[in-house]
Symmetry: none
Subunit: 219 residues, 4 copies
DNA sequence: AATGAATGAGGATTCATTCAT
DNA sequence: AATGAATGAATCCTCATTCAT
C-alpha cells in the first residue's frame, strides 16, 4: 500500500506533528460539523485547537489540507470501529447480521462524522478527493468480501456480479442512518432500524430454503 | 397545501417574476453544478442569467434564496418525471418493477441535479432546509403508498411498520446512482443497475409463494 | 502599434475607468514614491484614491496592475514632456544642446517619478516588465534618431555603431540626475549639471573642426 | 576611517561571527539576486546558510541588517577588484583606458551584485542607506582622483569643477552595463562596450593637441 | 423595472522575530 | 551557541448586497 505524499511541514519532530495535527483535526471536526467547511474560518480552527493563527500553518498548508485530514481521520475511525465488530461466528448466515448490527451502531455513534464526510468531500481538491473516495471504496470492499465468503460457505445465494452493488447498498443504507436522520429518527429507533434493515438484506441474500421461520425477529 | 411565504419581490407582474426566476434558476443550476454553491458568485449568476447585478436582487433577496429556488425546481422536476412514469399495470407486483425502472431512469437523467441537491442542501438556512426536506419526504411517501397498495393487493408480504423505511431505502438506492457515480459507473450500466436493484428489492417484498420460479435468476 | 491587452475591468463606462484609474495612479504614485511599492498597502492606495477597498479592485486586478499603470503613466509623462521640447532649430549641432537641456529639465521636474520607475520596475511580473522596458527603449530611440540626423547633416562625426550606445548614455546621464541626487545636488545646480553634461556630450559628438572656441560656456 | 557601530551580537568569538556572517551574506546574496529582497524570507536565508532560524538572529538583528551586510560586501568586492586593476602605466592618458577597461570588466563579472545593490539599496533604513551611499561616493572619488592626476600630468584638459561629475558619469556608465543589460546585451559585446565607452570618455577628456590622429577610429 | 458602480467586512495566508530549551 | 516551534499583526483580495440613477 503506497503511502501517498504526506502533507509538508517545516516542523521536524514527527511526534509533535502527529500531536498538533490531532488537535487541529479535533477542533476542525467539531467546527465543520457545527457550521460546515465554508462556514468555519481558519482562525476559529486555530483558536479552538489552542494554537496561534500562524502555528496552524506550520502543520498544514491550507484549509483544504485540514479538510483532508478530517476526512482521513473519519475513515480511519470507521475502519477501526468496524474491525472491532467483525469477529466471532462460524457461518456467514450467522455472522453477517451481527456485523451489520455493529456497522449500524458505528454509523450511529459516528453519525456526525459520517454526515460531515458526506457533505464536505466535494470541497476537496481533486487530488485529495480521489484518495478519500478510494478509502470509501475500500470499506465497501470489506462488505463485498463478507458476501463472497457467505456465497462460498453456502450461506447466501446471489450471483457474484451482484456482490459489489450489494456492498455499496449496505454502505449507503448504513450512512443513510446519518444523513436521513432528520426523517428516520422520528419513526425508528436504532434498534428497529437495525433489525429491519438486517432482515431485509438477509431476505435478499438467503435462499428461501435456508430461511428458518422467524429469522427476522429471532436474531 | 399551503404555499409557505413566497420570496418577496418589489416587482408587480407575477408572470415577469416567474420568467426572470426561471432564468435565474437555470443559470444558477448550471453554475452550482459546475462549481458548487460556494464557488459561484452572485455576479456570475446574474451575468449567466442575462440580468444585471442589481436586477437579480429585484427577484430574489439573497443568494440563499436562489439555492432554495434551485432545490425547489429540482424536486419539482423529479416529481414531474416520476408522474409520467407511474402509469399502467394492474397488480403491484407487476407495476413496481416498471416504476422502479422509471425512477432509476429519472435519477440517471437528472443525476447532476440530484447530486447538487445532495451536496448543497446543507447550505440552506434552516427555514428553507425544512421545506426542502419536506419535499424529499413527500417523494418518499409516494413510494410508501405504492408499497401499501402492493400489500393491499396481496403482491407484497411485508409488515406495515417496515414500509416507511423501505420507501426511504428506495429513494436512497436511486439517488445513490447519482452520488456514488464515481464508483458505480465503472461496474454497472444503468440497465444492469436497474435490474439488480429491482430484483433485490422484489426479493425483500414478495412473499415466497408469489415468487415464480426463476424470477431472480431468470433475467 | 499593437495595443497589448488592457487590464480587465467589470466597469463598462470607459470614461469612468479612465477617471478612476487616474485617481488610483495619482494616489499610488505618491505613496510608492514615499514608501516604496512593498511599503504601501492596497488599502492605503484605495483610501488615498478616495475609493473603497473593494472599488479599487473594480478597476484593477492586482497590486501589480497598479504598479504597471504607474510605470506606464510615468513613461507617458516623460514622452509628452519631451515632445514639447524637441522643436525649433536648424542644424543638429544647434538643436541637440537645446533638447538635452530640455531633457535634463524633464528629469529634474519628474525626478521622483524617474526614481520610482528605476527602483520598482523589478517588482513587475515579467509580462509587464517587458512592456515597460520596451517603452524605455523607445525613448532611447528618440535620442538615437536625433544623433543619426546629426550625422546626416554633418553636425556630428561618430560611427553609426556608436549611436545606440550614446543614446543609452544620454538616457542614463539624465536619469542619473534623479537617482544620484543624494550626491549631485550638493555639488551641482541643475544649470551647472546641464551645461556640463551637454558640453561633454558635444565633445564626444562634434568633430574638432566644428568646435568653435568657447562652445561649452557659450550656449 | 572610524568603523561606525557594528551590528550587535551576543556571540563572543569574533572569528566565529565573521565566519557565520560570511555564510549568511553568501546565502542572502544568492537569494536576493534570484528573488529580490522582499521575495526572500529569513527562513530561506537561514536554511541556505546552513543555520537554524534562531541562529540567524544570533548574528544579525534584522533582515535589514542582512541587506546592509550584503551591500557592504558588494562594495568591498568592487573595491578589491578595482584595486587589482589600477596598477601599471605612466601618464594618465595611457593608464585611464586600461583602468576603465578593468572597471567595465569588474562590472561585468559582478553584474548581478551591481544590479542587486541598485535595486535594493532603497529598502535599507536610512541609517544604513547613508553608509552605503557613502561607499558608493568613495568609489566615485577614486575616479575623481585619477582625473585630477590626469589633469596634473597634462593628459587631460578639463575644468576642475567638471571632475566630480565626470567621475560620477564613469561610475554610472559602468553600472549601466549591469542595469541596462536587458537592452545592451543584444547590441554590444563587453569588448565593444568597453572600447566605445572608453573612446567616448577620452574624447571628453583629452585636449585636441594630445589626440593622436586615428585614436578614436583606430581600434 | 433595470442597472451596475460602490462598498467594507471578512477570509486565507505569510513571515519577521522571539524565547524556552 | 544553537535551535526551531510559536506567534499575531499585517496583507492582498473577494463578494454579497445596496442604492442612486
Amino acid at each position: 500500500m503506497k503511502r501517498t505524499d504526506p502533507i509538508a511541514t517545516p516542523v521536524k519532530d514527527p511526534e509533535l506533528v502527529r500531536l498538533r495535527r490531532e488537535q487541529i483535526v479535533a477542533a476542525a471536526t467539531k467546527l465543520f460539523s457545527e457550521k460546515g467547511y465554508h462556514g468555519t474560518t481558519t482562525r476559529e480552527i486555530a483558536r479552538t485547537s489552542g494554537l496561534g493563527t500562524g502555528t496552524l500553518y506550520e502543520y498544514v498548508n491550507s484549509k483544504e489540507d485540514i479538510l483532508y485530514l478530517v476526512c482521513d481521520m473519519i475513515h480511519t475511525q470507521v475502519e477501526e470501529r468496524l474491525k472491532l465488530v467483525s469477529c466471532e461466528g462460524d457461518r456467514m448466515i450467522d455472522r453477517l447480521p451481527v456485523i451489520l448490527s455493529g456497522f449500524f451502531k458505528v454509523m450511529d455513534d459516528l453519525q456526525e462524522l459520517v454526515l460531515l464526510i458526506y457533505q464536505e468531500t466535494k470541497s476537496l481538491p481533486s487530488e485529495y478527493m480521489v484518495r478519500v473516495l478510494a478509502r470509501e471504496e475500500q470499506i465497501s470492499e470489506y462488505f463485498a468480501n463478507l458476501l463472497h465468503a457467505g456465497i462460498a460457505d453456502g450461506s447466501f445465494s446471489v450471483e457474484p456480479e451482484v456482490v459489489s452493488l450489494m456492498a455499496h447498498n449496505i454502505m449507503v443504507l448504513g450512512q443513510m442512518w446519518a444523513f436521513r436522520r432528520w426523517s428516520l429518527q422520528y419513526k425508528y429507533s436504532l434498534q428497529a432500524f437495525t433489525e429491519t434493515q438486517t432482515s431485509l438484506l438477509m431476505r435478499e441474500l438467503v435462499a428461501p430454503e435456508n430461511l428458518r421461520k422467524g429469522d427476522e425477529n429471532g436474531n
